[in-house]
């Protein structure tokens, strides 16, 4: 998927679809905290990063990945990386 041409809402929906398809996570609020609210463990967050990278054809640095703690934050980060 080409992030550059995606609207923000479209990108967030695509992120949620990755979370639903791979980890069975549904009804995720845009600002829900992956750790505190969704209780996603660290291995699953690493796996989510891998799936998102594959889905959107990007590579996220480990330092940046630590900030992927909500759908909002993830969408912003992906937009930034895609330029």
């Amino acid at each position: 998927m080409d992030i550059k041409n995606m609207q923000e809402a479209e990108l967030k929906a695509a992120i949620k679809k990755v979370m639903q398809d791979n980890f069975g996570l549904s009804d995720i609020a845009d600002d829900a905290d992956f750790i505190k609210d969704l209780k996603i463990d660290s291995i699953t967050r690493m796996e989510l990063l891998l799936k998102l990278e594959d889905e959107f054809g990007v590579r996220v640095e480990d330092n940046d990945a630590q900030n992927m703690l909500s759908v909002d934050a993830t969408a912003q980060l992906l937009k930034k990386i895609a330029g």
């Binding site: 791979n22 980890f23 069975g24 291995i43 699953t44 690493m46 796996e47 891998l50 594959d54």
Partner: protein, 427 residues
């Protein structure tokens, strides 16, 4: 120290489903689960036959486990084992619902192994590295493939905080896990043990590996239902199966205290090693003789007190012959007196490798409990070695029969020369 150990719960995942009675009835009625392998590319391999658990919700709750452990978090051998363990815990009334926790005051542990573990995870992950690069490996790969994550997941799901470990002993894994679990109760460390094994190695790598050893059945791709034929002259190797078998072993005191249903008494195990060859058994069955004799010793039984052996009988030439010569050496007099039977369920559900010993232990215990012997299917012309002084051993050919059983044995032998015999008695 426990005076007696009893069996208070059973569970299995088989190609005939996970319900104890339903799968037992399928075995009793001589049904077979060996078919052409589905959904796996086996191009170029001589054996296309296996006994898969059909990917069908009516047979196994795949969706339930995909929800519980989504996204390849757990390997299939673990999922088969988790379902069998959950069913055994429910059967023993140690949990009252799926995903339930055991009473935290109980002294309970887990010894559950696998022969090979996440073999297909290794294969699939290697493919990812070759095709996409080493940094594309799943974070779930290592924990999914590890054999000890099967007992680990059982502990997590049911909050079982006692001793927890895995056994690895090829095709005798499940049986060794049972023997080792029992020792935890004998020592007094635990009152209750969840024991057994799971296996899921039917894949391109697993089938290719055993094809390379020429261990799998040849010549039956067009009539796969006849491919697994223990003791039969036309057998040509084993058929790979998959699944899991789990038992709940418990001290008699604990079982009585809980008012638990008791299937039978676990009398003891015999253990030995061939110390001979990586894959071949000693032709004279010396290792098997040692394990069976050891089992009788620890069980305080004489050969004439054993009415039935659920044989390892993989349907390979060397293995079947070695086992039969051991059985004839020890039980010769019983064979002549007609009071003795030997059968193998591998004709029906193939060889589940590491899980075979525990699935067959479940079948043996159900035989004892129901007083019904399971048949050896695809038996048309028994090999010469099935005769003792011109008398054919009762191999329970093709149809199950009613029987009067007090004491039964299940044997398991694995690559590496690992030999195990388990003995169960009527309670």
């Amino acid at each position: 120290m426990a005076s007696k150990i009893v069996v208070t719960g059973l569970g299995w995942s088989t190609p005939f489903g996970c319900d104890l009675d339903q799968a037992f009835d399928a075995l009793f009625n001589g049904k077979t689960a060996t078919f052409r392998t589905q959904n796996i590319n086996l191009d170029g391999l001589y054996c296309q036959v296996s006994a898969q658990i059909p990917r069908n919700e009516a047979i196994f709750p795949f969706e339930k486990w995909q929800k519980e452990l989504p996204g390849n978090k757990a390997s299939m051998f673990t999922i088969f084992g988790l379902e069998a363990a959950e069913r055994a815990l429910l059967d023993a009334k140690l949990i009252d619902q799926e995903g339930g926790y055991v009473d935290q005051n109980l002294k309970i542990g887990v010894v559950v192994g696998s022969g090979i573990g996440g073999l297909e995870d290794h294969f699939n992950t290697s493919q990812v590295i070759l095709e996409k690069g080493a940094n594309r490996v799943s974070a779930f790969y290592v924990p999914a493939a590890l054999i000890n994550l099967l007992p680990g997941h059982i502990a997590i799901r049911h909050k079982i905080k006692g001793p927890n470990q895995s056994q690895v002993a090829a095709c005798s894994t499940g049986a060794i896990a049972i023997a080792d679990g029992a020792r935890m109760i004998v020592e007094g460390r635990c009152d209750i043990m969840v024991v057994g094994a799971g296996e899921a190695s039917i894949g391109r790598l697993g089938i290719a590996g055993f094809c390379a050893l020429r261990a799998l059945a040849s010549g039956y791709n067009d009539n796969p239902q006849q491919a697994s034929r223990p003791f039969d002259k036309k057998r040509s190797g084993f058929v790979m199966g998959e699944g899991a078998g789990i038992l709940i072993l418990e001290s008699e005191e604990s079982a009585k205290r809980r008012g638990a249903k008791i299937y039978c008494e676990y009398l003891g195990a015999g253990l030995s090693n061939d110390a001979y060859h990586m894959t071949s058994p000693c032709a004279d069955g010396a290792g098997a003789i040692a394990a069976i004799s050891d089992a009788l010793y620890w069980s305080k039984k004489t050969p004439n007190q054993v009415q039935y052996i659920n044989a390892h009988a993989t349907s390979t030439g060397l293995g079947d012959a070695a086992e039969m010569s051991a059985i004839k050496f020890i039980f010769g007099d019983c064979i002549e007196k007609n009071s003795f039977a030997v059968s193998s369920i591998k004709g029906a559900i193939g060889h589940m490798l590491g899980a075979a010993g525990s699935v067959e232990a479940v079948a043996t215990i159900l035989s004892l409990h129901k007083q019904k012997l399971l048949p050896t299917i695809n038996l048309e012309e028994p090999d010469e070695f099935a005769y003792h002084n011109d008398k054919l051993i009762n191999l329970v050919p093709n149809n199950g029969i009613e029987a009067s059983l007090d004491c039964v044995m299940s044997t398991s032998f694995g690559f590496g020369g690992h030999n195990v015999a388990l003995v169960f008695g009527r309670y």
